[in-house]
């Protein structure tokens, strides 16, 4: 069976014009980012719940007080499974969700805390599963480092200690914007979203070089690079606006070669093939 010629492929006529206009429409970049952020926030919860055992833990949720501050706490006991601790500032800027409250996690212990400031700081510690088969009954370690509010200039850090008690590396206020080269294998998606959001915030506030430096170190810090298309898109847009054509084209080429179906691919095509 042969399909008819598409009306939109006709060279003239109102019907073709209307359909071409419809086919060209693309979602806004912010719309894509918002959904990724929402999924990132969910992923942090899923990450904690994913190690659920057979015993229901207690859970409580709390909304932090103060201007724009959101603190979510889910505490529980774990049995027959792993204990995961996640401390995260969820991205209130982009999404209206992300505060975990009243979630009954079975056998998982999670702590999510931090102020929702912009740009948000992010700390996450994902502990490796406790050795099986011995049941682990251990509350989430409420270390000051995990629960202390972060400052707006703090660099995002995500670490994967080998045991739950291993302290997470911490970058304090006033240190360089570019984060230390911490291996981020297994970091929750929310960590990557927060990292990219921080770069976006820097760029938006006119701190172009620190922002671009963060973007350049993204792949080093997050080897899984699940948001690479978004990072390349940001590099492309920023460099293009700055007139750094070579860097913009390089990002566009990587974007187009690696992610031709990305919502950002059309922008890369326009830059490369005006």
């Amino acid at each position: 069976m042969t399909d008819p010629e598409r009306i939109s492929k006709r060279s003239r006529g109102l019907a073709a014009q209307l359909l071409q206009a419809g086919a060209e429409e693309q979602p806004a970049e912010a719309s894509v980012q918002q959904t990724l952020a929402a999924l990132g926030a969910s992923a942090a919860v899923v990450s904690a719940a994913g190690s659920a055992g057979a015993v229901a833990g207690s859970a409580k949720g709390a909304l932090g007080a103060g201007a724009g501050a959101g603190t979510a706490t889910v505490g529980g006991t774990a049995a027959g499974g792993a204990v995961k601790v996640v401390s995260a500032t969820l991205l209130m800027k982009w999404v209206g969700i992300g505060v975990v409250g009243g979630v009954g996690l079975a056998g998982a212990a999670a702590v999510a805390s931090g102020p929702a400031v912009s740009p948000p700081a992010f700390h996450a510690v994902v502990a490796a599963p406790a050795p099986a088969p011995e049941p682990v009954l251990k509350p989430a370690p409420a270390t000051p480092e995990l629960l202390a509010p972060s400052t707006a200039v703090e660099a995002p850090v995500v670490a994967v200690p080998t045991t739950p008690s291993t302290p997470a590396p911490h970058v304090g206020a006033g240190e360089p914007v570019t984060p230390a080269p911490v291996l981020e294998i297994g970091a929750p998606l929310a960590a990557e979203v927060a990292y990219v959001d921080r770069a976006r915030a820097l760029l938006a506030s006119g701190q172009v070089e620190p922002g671009l430096a963060l973007l350049r170190s993204y792949e080093r810090d997050f080897p899984e690079a699940r948001l690479l298309p978004e990072v390349l898109f940001l590099q492309l847009e920023t460099c293009d606006r700055l007139g750094r054509a070579s860097e913009a084209r390089s990002a566009a080429r990587r974007l187009l070669d690696g992610f031709p179906k990305s919502p950002h691919a059309s922008r890369a095509r326009k830059l490369l093939f005006p």
């Binding site: 399909d3 598409r6 359909l19 979602p27 918002q34 959904t35 999924l39 969910s42 899923v46």
Partner: protein, 191 residues
């Protein structure tokens, strides 16, 4: 069967893999879902919200989705989410559609962006008047450039049915466009 069970186990046991897959879903299918929602009658902001809802639903039901059926799954969720949104936003939507027909009067010197917006407003108005079963097939063929067999698979209908609906949808759309054009001429907006 064993492979499916293994895949399910793997998905459940690996939050990281799930996250990776979710990002891939957004990366590969967001524009498709968003445009579908737009052409099914949602305004831009509403389509943003609905698209996010589609992917959040997908994140909760990820284990149900086999890799080759991801697009079909998202399509099904988008149809449901879109229908619910349209029902709840129906009253709000009426005004802009009426206004859209007013805005269709051409402005030869208008900027291209505005022309595109006007074209989309008219397109949405015409699509909104089409019967739902025709509209969906039409949008998937003309705007998303799926083939008839692909549409049949996505909509879970026989290929012959998809082809028949497409033929009727194209006739229906062209008739509506012809009427819209006639109205434009009648109103003195076109020469």
């Amino acid at each position: 069967m064993a492979a499916e069970a293994a895949a399910l186990d793997e998905a459940e046991s690996s939050p990281r893999a799930s996250s990776q897959r979710l990002v891939g879903l957004v990366r590969d299918h967001y524009a498709f879902v968003w445009r579908l929602l737009r052409r099914l009658g949602l305004r831009e902001g509403d389509a943003d919200d609905a698209a996010q809802q589609v992917f959040l639903t997908a994140s909760r039901r990820l284990h149900e989705v086999e890799a080759p059926r991801e697009r079909a799954f998202l399509y099904g969720v988008a149809l449901n989410v879109g229908a619910r949104a349209r029902r709840s936003l129906g009253r709000r939507r009426e005004e802009p559609l009426e206004a859209a027909s007013e805005r269709v009067a051409p402005e030869p010197n208008a900027e291209q962006v505005l022309e595109r917006r006007q074209a989309r407003a008219l397109l949405d108005q015409l699509l909104d008047e089409m019967p739902e079963e025709l509209r969906v097939v039409f949008v998937l063929f003309e705007l998303e450039e799926l083939s008839t067999p692909q549409i049949a698979e996505l909509c879970d209908i026989p290929v012959g049915t998809a082809a028949s609906r497409l033929r009727r949808a194209r006739e229906d759309f062209e008739e509506r466009v012809a009427r819209a054009e006639a109205r434009r001429r009648f109103s003195g907006g076109d020469t």
